[in-house]
């Protein structure tokens, strides 16, 4: 995708750039080099990224702190900025280290992160990141944005073209596209007016389809990249990751640890189910539950690694 790292892997799915950014920023809290390379990539490829979508997909305060830090950092380093605005820091805001396993004190805090309660050392971007290769399936979202512009229209086409679900509702498209239903409705209406998307009614609900053949012909593709519910899967993973990192969990009794993990699963099950990940501990209760949970987390990690 252009991040400065060596990889010989070729994914067949279409990535969701903003969902992936949010997850990578979270994962990067344990991988400082990855974090800095992603910031650099963001600076080089900002024109392909939807900051609106990034805001829409940020699910909670932790997401927003990371997302705001990254976008304010971006504002500091934009070439077109004649004067770099310095983010204002709330003097009462208590800052926590951004990197979770870095023992060294932060000597020169970056104001973009400090303004969002995070301590990160000042870093000058190298601008060595590459641009996404638009011919790769994984970069399909960028290709759509290059064709249709960064906005709801490109996401609606990406979702309708890659999803196997026939006749998607506005609500389903909105959830997959990361835009508000109103934006999706406007985009879908203009695509329909242009004769590139069809719609029909199921009861009171409007359903949308995209004629695949003409689109595949236009894009010189034999088949569309694989669709995955990235926003939901990555949102669930971020919540799970933060939970697993919470040092308080280690201090809990066996019962409370198990109870908290049940509450966690209740919180993320809808997202995971939408992404096709089973979270139902069928018939597992009592003292067997902690073992089931640990096995489930390990299995999830292994299945995600294997699906690469």
């Amino acid at each position: 995708m252009g991040v400065l790292a060596s990889s010989s892997h070729r994914d067949e799915w279409a990535a969701d750039p903003e969902a992936l950014l949010l997850l990578t920023l979270e994962v990067g809290r344990e991988e400082p080099r990855l974090f800095d390379e992603v910031l650099d990539w963001l600076l080089v490829n900002e024109r392909l990224v939807s900051l609106q979508r990034l805001r829409n997909l940020a699910a909670d305060e932790s997401d927003r702190a990371l997302m705001n830090s990254a976008t304010e950092w971006l504002a500091q380093w934009r070439r077109k900025s004649s004067t770099r605005p310095s983010p204002k820091t709330d003097p009462d805001l208590e800052a926590a280290p951004l990197f979770l396993n870095e023992g060294l004190p932060v000597q020169r805090p970056d104001p973009a992160f400090l303004a969002n309660g995070l301590l990160k050392s000042w870093m000058e971007p190298t601008r060595r990141s590459g641009h996404p290769d638009l011919a790769q399936p994984v970069n399909f979202a960028f290709r759509m944005r290059s064709l249709l512009g960064v906005g709801a229209r490109a996401e609606v086409v990406r979702v309708l073209l890659t999803s196997d679900e026939p006749g998607m509702s506005l609500q389903a498209i909105a959830a997959a596209s990361g835009f508000a239903k109103r934006n999706v409705q406007e985009a879908a209406a203009s695509l329909r007016a242009a004769g590139t998307v069809t719609s029909w009614n199921l009861g009171n609900e409007q359903r949308f389809d995209l004629p695949r053949e003409p689109w595949l012909h236009l894009l010189s593709l034999e088949q569309p990249p694989t669709y995955k519910s990235w926003p939901q899967l990555f949102r669930g993973l971020r919540v799970l990751l933060r939970w697993l990192r919470d040092p308080e969990i280690e201090t809990l009794s066996e019962y409370m640890g198990a109870s908290r993990s049940r509450t966690l699963l209740e919180q993320i099950s809808e997202d995971f189910l939408a992404a096709g990940v089973s979270v139902e501990p069928l018939g597992v209760t009592g003292e067997l539950y902690p073992l089931w949970f640990e096995t489930w987390v390990r299995g999830l990690g292994e299945s995600l690694a294997a699906s690469r």
Binding site: S253, Y255, M256, A258, S259, R262, T263, T285, G286, Y289
Partner: protein
């Protein structure tokens, strides 16, 4: 676990409730009557489905527990989920007992157990359970209440004391008639109300 099978199970769910309350930073003192109390006190060994809260105790005295406060319900629901218990496993069913006063000296006789720093349960004493079980046995007829009453092996004096209290709750002639029959079953024939 679909019910509270024994004393260990009762202690386990109440400990869990105490831990849930601790994470919510809420503290309660529950006054409990019924089967779960008998289990904890070792008076019976049968399984019970619920923990019956007759009152909440605070510095101000006893308060009607119905409806249970929201944090307590939240903690209860998590325990219900974790132990596969019905959501009503902790309930304020006997709250109406407060309306006509509890037996005299009730609070002096309770047996108090702490389940962590955030939950204390005051279990009704054996004598007070005899009061409640006699009332329930007369009111509901033969069944678990009369079996519990048998298990408590009340003396004639205890039964008479309990019978006088039950009359403050139900002074009707019909209740008195059944009460006399129940007392006679235990060899108390000359009850004077």
């Amino acid at each position: 676990m679909n019910n509270i099978a024994n004393r260990e199970a009762a202690e386990e769910v109440l400990t869990a409730l105490g831990e849930q309350l601790a994470t919510l930073r809420e503290s309660y003192e529950l006054v409990v009557v019924g089967g779960s109390g008998l289990l904890v006190l070792g008076a019976i060994e049968r399984a019970t489905r619920d923990v019956d809260v007759v009152a909440l105790r605070s510095d101000a005295g006893l308060e009607n527990p119905d409806p249970l406060p929201k944090p307590l319900r939240q903690a209860r629901d998590r325990v219900a989920r974790d132990f596969s218990l019905p959501q009503t496993w902790l309930n304020a069913g006997p709250a109406s007992l407060l309306d006509f006063q509890l037996p005299t000296g009730f609070l002096d006789r309770v047996e108090s157990h702490s389940y962590g720093e955030h939950l204390t349960v005051h279990f009704a004493s054996r004598l007070d359970q005899i009061h409640f079980k006699l009332y329930a046995a007369v009111d509901a007829g033969p069944g678990k209440h009369s079996q519990d009453l048998e298990a408590l092996t009340p003396t004639a004096e205890e039964l008479l004391q309990a019978a006088q209290w039950t009359r403050t709750h139900d002074p009707s002639p019909g209740f008195e008639e059944v009460l006399r029959r129940v007392l006679a079953h235990y060899g108390v024939d000359d009850a004077d109300f």
